[in-house]
Symmetry: C3
Subunit: 463 residues, 3 copies
């Protein structure tokens, strides 16, 4: 049996009984997915997925990196020049190495998808690799396994994508205009026009000017262009922005200093530290615009992207080599928070890959500033142990209502129900622990559980 | 029922039975409170508390910050210009938001106080807000609810306050001269005359000179003034000093360099880094004086005080906006420890808001230096999860006897029994875990439990 | 009873039953000890140990530091000028303070050794100190308690020592030539000829030249000398190198820059930062040589050695005053990993004393780079709680197979079975938790348990 009905619930019988009840109350609630990376084209075109390898392996950096870490070559996984092109061969390689995922969240998600989405009974292994492949491939070809059909089957109420500031959101438009009832909203992610270290930064700013008719050669014109794009995203349904920065540093320069800094980064003649300072300044500018237009602001900081030079040059981004670094928020966020942190119109959701910040900085910050909320455990920490640690470390100082429920944060469509299910189970287990240690009444837990499952996501992201 | 008799004890039945026994053995032991922030005037004057809001809400930065974090304005809590002045209205606001404290230690403390001190049966809510208010207000007016009566009722054996080096300790004198049997001792907290960044630093040093007759215009006279004040505090019952520094950095400059540094900070013409260096030097000087006079030294490092500029300028200090920063002790403490760290006459108790230091630095340091002891979990970490983490992270390297039991560290008088009770319960649970995993014999645990509850506090603070 | 058969297993009855079964399956498996500090002379000469104090107390920095932390003087422990010379007196001091070890891994190891190696029934105390002393001393005098006999009795299959690059490995040769069947292999530890801050660095390099016939006055000759010594160590059975560095910083300088840096450190005329940079460069050079010769590379970083100046000058190294500092690997290792990190011929095992790096950096790195593996919890973290935290923090991202099982890492011979036993118990408990929460099938756990106990050590160290 791939999935035990009591999985992830506490072993102590009395605690488990309580957790079971709480989980049952939220298991079938709608999925609110306010932050993720599904491909908007799926929702717009609603085409069939091509094959099991392209669905489960090739684009999933969690899966790829683990295989690579044990000596599988990227080419065996269909990535890079001269790579394997037969999806069945890639699938067999995956099946032969499926034991590597023992003890990992990927295993939980994959088992869940194979079992609940594709109805497969046995755990993937070399022995059943071909049979599983065939069964999945056959189902993918049927109309019931197209993206919008899966959206309905998964019980999704709303899902957000993450989109470049330069994106024309054509697939979002196609989805909306198609008459489909699903709600897919874009998220304004302007890194490519904010980070001077990004590829083609100058060209991106030219493009931003073209799209908006603003003079992105000047500081004020550049800010105006952001406002214009944010308004466009809002018209297309966006309720949030997202910012992926190496550090959470913020700045609040005087306008002349900011304009001079912009002139340097615009011309490409930057001094040491200018790129970081510009990113810092722009976080504060984005926060000010959020005060104006109400878009919820998300900050994902602390990942060293594309850590290995050779992997990046041969195979590109998002290949499993993004490695966290130590992060500190307290000093870094002060300029932004001094500027707009006490304004209740601002909502800024903070994410971290450095779990030491949960109890040391994030919970104290979110437990004081009315503008701040804590995002759920992110990436490596979106897991049984990770979610438990987050609740144990953050709740006592920040409470529940300064958090925003769960994000699946994924491009792996079939893992979405699995991820929300893990979160609901771990949160039910945590609430049950509070009950049996008499830190919370059972009736209170039944009010909190649906907030954690979807209520706080809806409210936190203004969806 | 607000308080379950098994609260905070482990859910596993066998472990719980053992924990119950250990807890029963310490539940009624006297409260030794070697570090806290009760107002000495309470003990000197023994006046009635004014009303429930001033007792439970307005001065409690744990409570205020949580309400503010969810959009309540300071003014609604009686703080700031034009603030609400009706305590009942403030109380109702608190009651309407009491659910925000679910899962937090404040909830445990408040429930405990309402239940055990004021005999209230139902959890605070909008429905019972007025009735609770009236019941508390009525009792506060009775002579049985004055500070000294609560001292007795709570079973306090000794309580320390925290007092400026410039304080005349008049309320301590009044308490002692009143014939009251309670033991309230001051603690020498010289931050205002040590930290060049503190407000009115120069005037404070003038004042220090006036009080002592020492020449606080010279380095040696300044040190002599500290000696004089420490002697005064000792005569008034003090057994300890306390130092609240942004970082734990210490220094041990040659005398001429120290004198030159003092001259700069005294004149206010300081170079970059001078303030930090002076604080660092003074920690070592304080440690040397502790070797001489036997006062136990406490170091509380790592809080970024008054993080938000607007909150500080409008509402002042201690409004819930003190946010921890990353801290490291190993390199920072070396100058002090090289100077006097192996001297068994020195006792230096270390506190941290950065839990990563427990196992990485603090337990290894306290498990080696005879002068060092570990203070209990501080502030945000004075909680069920926080105390458990401390024991799990520190005990294996430092043992039990390099810790000093519990500090309530509070200005919230009615929370003192609750806080000690939480600590005793969590320590009993921890000891029970050691027993059921056969890491400790039950008989040993019965020897250790009273040490953790009060014995190590008495011994550690030389009370 | 000193040792309960269920010690360290989970209290929940159902979980305990599963853990018992897993533990039973690995309890008697051979001990593979790929990293440690036993004295090679023991294995070469096979002489009797002198007395209980020299076996259990004087050389054990875990034991010594704890006693010192509570006011025992080094001299009372037989260390330093004018120290106590009567081992029985030292033993009595230890017995009188044995309660200090309550809750520590040292207590578990000592109880285990006294019970299983020497057959003693009662926990050490002042009352039985002399009787225990006599019983141990008598047994030490018998031929059954010599090192090689203990090797057999403990079920050791292979044990690695740690040896200076300048060592002649005479005791290893003596052991091999004696006809003894035990397998004792050296480990190449070149810190004394790599770290410019080490004592006698220049003389060590001269010596390295003498031993190899290489010109250690030149960069290329110096590298060649390393190659020669590594080849010698390999001939003597070594499968690994070990590097103890203050930080994990690496560098990959162009050859001319590296040669110039070497010239500076060789002459002793170094600029600020040169020593650190040279250590950093040499880690990359060692990694390149590991690609060539297949020696597994170990990096132990982040200990501030000999923290107290007075202790170091009076009592020397390894006296319990090595204190961890914060460490970060992500940026530090990039130069080395860019150079050779994707080469599957390299195996680099990382160790940390900063547990925050487990989930933040080490698991993501080892879960991506094919060259990287995670060493087990080290030193202060080689304990019940430490091993549990490691599994909880690292497994979800790195899986099991990017770890290398257990290291005892000790010079305390009699603690070796105890340490491996603790590790096997805690891993069994962890696997049982995965089973009862349905994250792993029981059959899978029975495959993984022997890998954790010895299989991954054998494979990971190429033994």
């Amino acid at each position: 049996m791939l999935l035990h009905s009591d999985r992830l619930l506490p072993p102590d019988p009395a605690t488990k009984a309580i957790a079971r009840g709480l989980y049952a109350a939220v298991a079938d609630r709608p999925i609110v997915s306010p932050h993720g990376h599904t491909d908007p084209r799926w929702w717009g075109e609603n085409s069939a997925f091509s094959n099991p390898a392209d669905l489960f392996i090739v684009p999933d950096h969690y899966v790829v990196r683990m295989l690579v870490s044990q000596g599988v070559r990227y080419e065996e996984l269909g990535i890079g020049e001269g790579a394997e092109r037969d999806p069945r061969t890639i699938w067999r390689c995956f099946a032969a190495n499926y034991h590597l995922f023992q003890g990992t969240p990927s295993r939980l998600w994959l088992d869940h998808a194979l079992s609940t989405v594709f109805g497969l009974a046995g755990r993937l292994s070399p022995a059943n690799a071909d049979a599983h492949y065939d069964a999945i491939a056959e189902q993918l070809a049927s109309p019931h396994y197209r993206p919008r059909e899966l959206y309905d089957r998964f019980g999704i109420e709303v899902i957000a994508t993450t989109d470049s500031a330069l994106d024309d959101l054509r697939w979002h438009a196609m989805a909306r205009e198609s008459g489909w009832k699903g709600r897919v909203v874009p998220t304004y992610r302007p890194d490519a026009v904010i980070d001077p270290d990004s590829e083609d930064f100058a060209a991106n700013l030219d493009r931003l000017g073209d799209l908006t008719g603003c003079d992105t050669g000047s500081w004020l014109g550049y800010l105006e262009a952001h406002r214009a794009r944010r308004a466009f995203f809002r018209r297309m349904g966006a309720t949030a922005t997202d910012h992926g920065h190496p550090t959470p540093r913020t700045a609040d320069l005087a306008e002349t200093a900011a304009a001079a800094l912009f002139a340097r980064v615009r011309s490409g003649k930057i001094d040491s530290g200018d790129a970081e300072l510009f990113r810092a300044q722009m976080l504060t500018e984005m926060a000010r615009m959020s005060v104006e237009d109400g878009l919820v602001m998300q900050l994902h900081a602390g990942s060293f992207r594309s850590h290995n030079a050779a992997v990046y040059s041969r195979y590109g981004r998002d290949r499993g080599f993004d490695i966290p670094v130590p992060v500190s928020f307290t000093v870094a966020l002060k300029p932004l928070l001094d500027a707009v942190g006490m304004d209740t119109r601002l909502r800024l959701i903070l994410f971290t890959l450095d779990e030491t910040t949960y109890s040391r900085e994030l919970a104290p910050l979110a437990g004081a500033y009315p503008s701040l909320r804590l995002g759920p455990p992110w990436w490596f920490h979106d897991s049984f142990e990770g979610i438990r640690r987050f609740r144990e470390l953050a709740t006592e100082t920040a409470g529940f209502r300064n958090t925003v429920g769960f994000n699946d944060d994924t491009r792996a469509l079939c893992s979405i129900p699995a991820r929300h299910d893990v979160s609901r189970r771990v949160d039910s287990a945590f609430l049950a622990e509070l009950i049996v240690t008499h830190r919370l009444d059972e009736a209170e837990a039944y009010e909190i559980a649906p907030l954690l499952s979807d209520g706080l996501a809806r409210e936190g992201y203004r969806l």
